[in-house]
Symmetry: C2
Subunit: 308 residues, 2 copies
């Protein structure tokens, strides 16, 4: 199950990573209401399939035993023993995992990272979710919170971020960032993109990353420049991560990765140019994720299978 | 053996990490001359002790099999099969390792990182050398070059670096950086430190990190401010590394760590303040290295013992 801020989406996944059935519901506020909803959606699928265990993927800090949620910015759980509570409601073994970790594991077992050794998974969506794999095993760090790549300061003197810092990677490299960049560019050069400008005048909130990417695919020069800006910062941020982690493979996932053909070659060039010791060390391969929006569900199921 | 840009220093190390004897020589230019010197110094010790194997620690890119040197900025070797060449000259099994990796391993087995799980080792010297340990094992990345922390861009809009980037961590957090910061401060406020200013007027090169640290220990206000600047960037850079690697422990080594009491508490506060999710995740411990300048020699010997 992918427990998101607006909806919970669950799937029945077999041993080969195939998604056999799905169910979903809106995400309620309040811990008990959320637990009731999660249990009800699992129960709906359990009524139709023999289910051995369930994994919950969510954006937040998970306890090292994969049973509790310390903090999840878009959910009601705070220092909550989520696995025990859902297990009590469903009678199933439950594990909890960071959604980017779950998605990365799915890509490793069934997708773009199959067979790779040291891998960085970067999901570009509303923000950045990230995961590290070493020889197919998730690297969780000492406190189970690694990595927090979205708030690496990649852009000197950059946009302020809700986290209190500025120039954070996800403020320049995400669906939200793509929209922000386009709106900034329209303010500077209103004539460059009449189509996007009409949206801004109407309501800047209507300029979304998806719409900017679509305009870029249609050849809109301003949207193309906004995507090129994302490509630049994607490459620069990956170079920074590589200086710490030296991956063999980088997998780009999340909703924005659907537009990867627009920016991945550019990002590769920026990455190669900014890497410390460029020219004297092998470059990581950079690939697009293969499992799309189902990755977190498939990965959570895989974890549940292993843990139970 | 620690193969440095100005001298090679070798030691005989027993199974408990104790240094029994030492020998050294100036570092010559040219591959063959360097190999002859390394072999001669090893031979000098082998004449006095029964030696089973030798490890060479150096600053540079090492091949994944720990037998070759791809590139070492201060040494003549370029894509050189160093282990085979030294083995042919000495008749001993030889391994080669990055000097920060060797020092980190020594601290893990015999020093400040004993028993620690996920550890970041940062050596502050002329530049920054760094190493990562996961459960006592060196993490080398996919290409054996992780981590290159000295050139992380930590300071937005910061000093240009010889690597081609700007704001690199080691330009603000190293012995060299401490001197640079002091010289910049003297230019802005000449009256603040008559003692250091006399050095600058004479020859700015006489302001060294060691002298600035000594002046700070004596209460010099400008030197104290320069050390506080180093502490700030040490904390900020460590927060960035922790966002990727989430360590349990950070060990600060290198020559500058002799002055750690002047800056480590400040650095801890900056680290805690800049960490993503500060207040919602456990903090890494930050400690000073224990083995001093012998760390690389002791670690290289430990590796040689394991590898042979």
């Amino acid at each position: 199950m992918d427990v998101g801020g607006t909806s919970v989406r669950a799937g029945v996944v077999d041993a080969d990573g195939a998604l056999l059935d799905t169910a979903h519901a809106p995400t309620p506020r309040g811990e008990a209401a959320l637990e009731a909803t999660v249990a009800r959606v699992i129960g709906e699928l359990a009524a139709r399939h023999p289910i051995g265990a369930a994994g919950l993927a969510l954006a937040g800090f998970i306890t090292p035993d994969l049973r509790g949620v310390r903090f999840a910015p878009h959910l009601s759980w705070r220092d909550a023993p989520v696995a025990d509570r859902i297990a009590a409601r469903t009678g199933l073994p439950i594990v909890v995992e960071h959604d980017a970790n779950a998605a990365a594991l799915a890509e490793r077992h069934f997708g773009a990272a199959a067979g790779a050794s040291t891998t960085v998974f970067v999901a570009l969506g509303t923000g950045i979710g990230a995961a590290l794999l070493i020889d197919g095993v998730l690297f969780r760090g000492a406190h189970g919170v690694a990595p927090e790549l979205g708030h690496l300061r990649v852009v000197p003197g950059g946009r302020p971020c809700a986290c209190g810092k500025s120039g954070c990677w996800e403020r320049y490299c995400s669906g939200t960032a793509l929209a922000t960049t386009a709106v900034e560019m329209i303010a500077r050069e209103p004539g460059l993109s009449p189509a996007l400008r009409r949206l801004v005048v109407d309501d800047p909130g209507r300029v979304t990353g998806r719409r900017v990417a679509a305009a870029a695919r249609d050849g809109d020069p301003l949207a193309t420049a906004a995507v090129a800006d994302l490509a630049r910062w994607l490459g620069e941020g990956l170079a920074l991560v590589a200086d710490v982690f030296d991956p063999e493979l980088v997998v780009i996932g999340g909703g924005v990765s659907a537009s990867a053909p627009l920016f991945l070659d550019d990002a590769r060039e920026h990455y190669a140019a900014r890497l410390t010791g460029a020219g004297r060390r092998p470059l990581a391969r950079i690939r697009t994720a293969q499992l799309g929006e189902d990755a977190a569900v498939v990965g959570a199921a895989r974890l549940a299978r292993d843990a139970c």
